[in-house]
């Protein structure tokens, strides 16, 4: 198959790497070759997970194969995006069981990162809604795997960042909805203690919940945030005239110069956002696309951070140490004077059997950090130390900087995972820049 050399990066635009790419259009061509390779979906992971010597672009292998609108199941090729799926299923009364904060991701990417959504505390991660996968192994074999069939391979593949093989097809259970709208409610919290109390208040709990955090607030206001809860609105509860989804026509046409996002501008924005969103204390209706995908409306919003890109630091801390760790992380970030435009806190539910799956019972914090200078690396090392000290871990789908040593402590089941990797890919055909960095390859000799 013809190859095209091109510079690629993840969504954070750091690092950028020139990769040989192939782009199969026929399912039979979705195959490993004798080089080392890694599959890529929509490149919405932030770091180097979908970069490598050879990258297999799956974007054209994107056919929907079976949709049962009575039972609510879908089988599709892994290159299909969530946006395409939603276009088909929502009008017929179905929704995705789990969705990340952007719909411009592929099914394969959702499986490989075992993504979580705002409903993780109730419904778990993506893998827990998979009926079956078709995995294309290094030797060309196509194997069905699920929680009941080839289960070991299944739990190594979900969250396995594309390193066990190419995910060819995904069958998924959907959830029923009666309208495309969400019933949403916001709660303002003056500081971190406040928002933890809100998360712990069972009376406020809803199907979905997430908190936006003002990462520049300090002192008594450290962790100032807005908790946003919601559930799929019942058609019967909707007013007769509903506002349609906001049309997404905006695009960032160029890289924002680095000086625009500075501590003062971000502070001003956060102040504005906190008071506007924090005041929506009455329940209101929002279209699902505005609720789940607020940033999808602005194409190329990653250019906001300028040419040098950014990293997203997302970690999860087990409940016991979560408050202390999040306090320390926010203090460390504020002290670094690096404006994080986006900072999000969310309570996660129990972890699943995915050997490298990220979520565990506790709190997850996600911070965008512009990649302006070498100081970022030093900062994330300090953040890593805080996370480690509290038994937490960093999310691979966002990561570009973790060391192999830190990774091994954060993911205690990596040895089990490596044994399965060794069995299904003895020659190490599947490798990415991330797997090389984290030593997630086959050990030779």
């Amino acid at each position: 198959m013809n190859k095209l050399n091109q510079p690629l990066s993840g969504w954070g635009r750091y690092p950028v790497q020139t990769c040989a790419t192939s782009r199969p259009e026929r399912y039979q061509d979705l195959q490993a070759s004798s080089t080392t390779q890694i599959a890529r979906g929509q490149g919405r992971s932030y770091g180097d997970a979908a970069l490598g010597e050879t990258v297999i672009l799956t974007e054209r292998v994107n056919r929907m194969l079976a949709f049962d609108s009575t039972a609510g199941t879908l089988r599709a090729e892994a290159g299909v995006t969530l946006a395409e799926v939603l276009e088909v299923i929502v009008p017929q009364g179905w929704f995705l069981p789990v969705t990340p904060g952007t719909r411009f991701v592929s099914l394969g990417g959702c499986v490989a990162a075992d993504v979580h959504g705002k409903n993780h505390h109730h419904d778990g991660a993506f893998s827990q809604h998979i009926i079956a996968l078709e995995l294309i192994l290094a030797d060309g074999a196509k194997v069905a795997c699920s929680a009941t069939e080839n289960a070991a391979l299944f739990w190594a593949t979900v969250g396995g960042m594309g390193l066990t093989g190419i995910i060819g097809e995904v069958s998924l259970r959907l959830i029923p909805i009666t309208s495309p709208y969400m019933q949403v409610r916001h709660y303002a919290a003056a500081n971190l203690t406040g928002v933890f109390a809100l998360f712990d208040n069972a009376a406020l709990d809803d199907a979905y919940s997430v908190a936006w955090i003002d990462s520049l607030a300090t002192g008594k206001s450290l962790g100032r945030s807005v908790l946003m809860t919601g559930h799929h609105a019942d058609a019967a509860d909707l007013p007769s005239v509903m506002r349609p989804a906001a049309k997404s026509t905006l695009s960032m046409p160029f890289d924002l110069p680095a000086f625009v996002l500075n501590p003062w501008t971000v502070k001003a924005f956060n102040q504005f956002y906190y008071s506007r969103e924090g005041h929506k204390t009455q329940p209101f209706f929002a279209h699902y696309s505005d609720y789940f995908y607020p940033l999808d409306g602005i194409a190329h919003w990653n250019r906001l951070y300028g040419k040098s890109g950014f990293v997203q630091y997302q970690c999860v801390i087990p409940t016991a140490g979560a408050f202390a760790a999040v306090t320390a992380l926010l203090e460390k970030l504020a002290a670094s004077r690096r404006p994080s435009f986006l900072a999000v806190l969310k309570k996660l539910g129990a972890q699943n059997q995915g050997l490298l799956s990220f979520p565990l019972a506790g709190y997850t914090l996600a911070l965008d950090i512009p990649m302006r200078d070498a100081g970022v690396l030093a900062l994330t090392r300090e953040l890593d130390a805080i996370v480690l000290a509290h038994g937490g871990r960093v999310y691979l789908a966002k990561d570009a900087l973790l060391t192999a040593q830190t990774f091994r402590i954060m993911y205690p089941r990596h040895a089990e995972w490596l044994r399965i990797k060794q069995a299904v890919d003895p020659d190490g055909r599947f490798a990415s820049s991330m797997s090389q960095r984290l030593d997630l390859g086959v050990q030779h000799g």
Binding site: N2, K3, L4, R23, R26, R63, M64, L65, V88
Partner: protein
């Protein structure tokens, strides 16, 4: 449902985008190709996304005697047919295709087999006195060049064949449209050196469907290729033959 459209060479990315654009208007789709697995996948996808009927059949290009039966079978499945889009084509290794018999295969796929299936389509639509034929030729057929003349010659033949059909069928209210793409981002061109102004298959699909309700008989896609080719065609042969093109 609107009447069906047949797509020949349905597994190409341009064909898939064209089928999608017709299906989005409510047309049922009949996919003709040689790869059963791919055809099954594409048909399922069209049916799910656009809620139209999407059927497929195996079309053996080289077996010319099978084409009549193939066409009739498709008709029987779909009922009446509104039009036919020919997307089948083969670039192959143009260096190797200078020699025969490989050169003959290029001519077979791009010209002989294409003309054959179009002849059956033409007879059917002529009798119905309505509908359309869209043939995807290429700018490569506008002037023979050393780098791809086996392909270019076959496409030139196809363009002339479509031109003749257009003349014949204009008396029967059947539109015949010749589409001449420049570079399109498909498996045929992926990783090729020297590409420029590359169009997406989606763009092609939308424009091809739009052409049905417009008056142009020969459509360059994107439009500027008409002028690029105009310049290339006006270079005197005495000079052209010395160029490395």
């Amino acid at each position: 449902m609107a009447e069906a459209v047949m797509i020949v060479g349905a597994t190409s990315a341009i064909a898939r985008a064209t089928a999608a654009a017709f299906a989005a208007l409510g047309h049922d789709i009949y996919l003709a190709g040689r790869n059963a697995d791919e055809l099954t996948r594409i048909a399922a996808d069209l049916a799910i996304r656009y809620q139209v009927r999407a059927h497929w059949g195996i079309f053996v290009a080289e077996d010319l005697t099978s084409h009549a039966a193939f066409f009739n079978q498709a008709m029987a499945e779909m009922g009446e047919m509104r039009g036919v889009v020919l997307a089948m084509g083969m670039l192959g290794d143009q260096q190797a295709a200078r020699d025969f018999p490989l050169g003959a295969e290029v001519i077979m796929v791009n010209f002989t087999a294409a003309a054959s299936i179009l002849s059956h389509s033409a007879n059917y639509l002529e009798a119905r006195k309505q509908g359309f034929i869209i043939g995807i030729s290429s700018v490569a057929g506008d002037r023979g060049r050393q780098s791809n003349y086996p392909y270019g010659a076959a496409k030139a033949g196809l363009s002339a064949y479509l031109q003749g059909l257009r003349n014949r069928l204009s008396h029967s209210n059947v539109r015949v449209i010749t589409v001449k793409p420049g570079f399109v981002d498909t498996a045929m061109t992926y990783g090729m050196a020297g590409l420029f102004l590359v169009a997406s298959p989606q763009y092609m699909g939308e424009r091809i469907v739009r052409a049905v309700n417009k008056s142009a008989d020969v459509v360059y896609l994107p439009w500027f290729w008409r002028y690029i080719m105009l310049i290339i065609k006006t270079i005197p042969e005495a000079i052209f033959k010395k160029l490395k093109l």
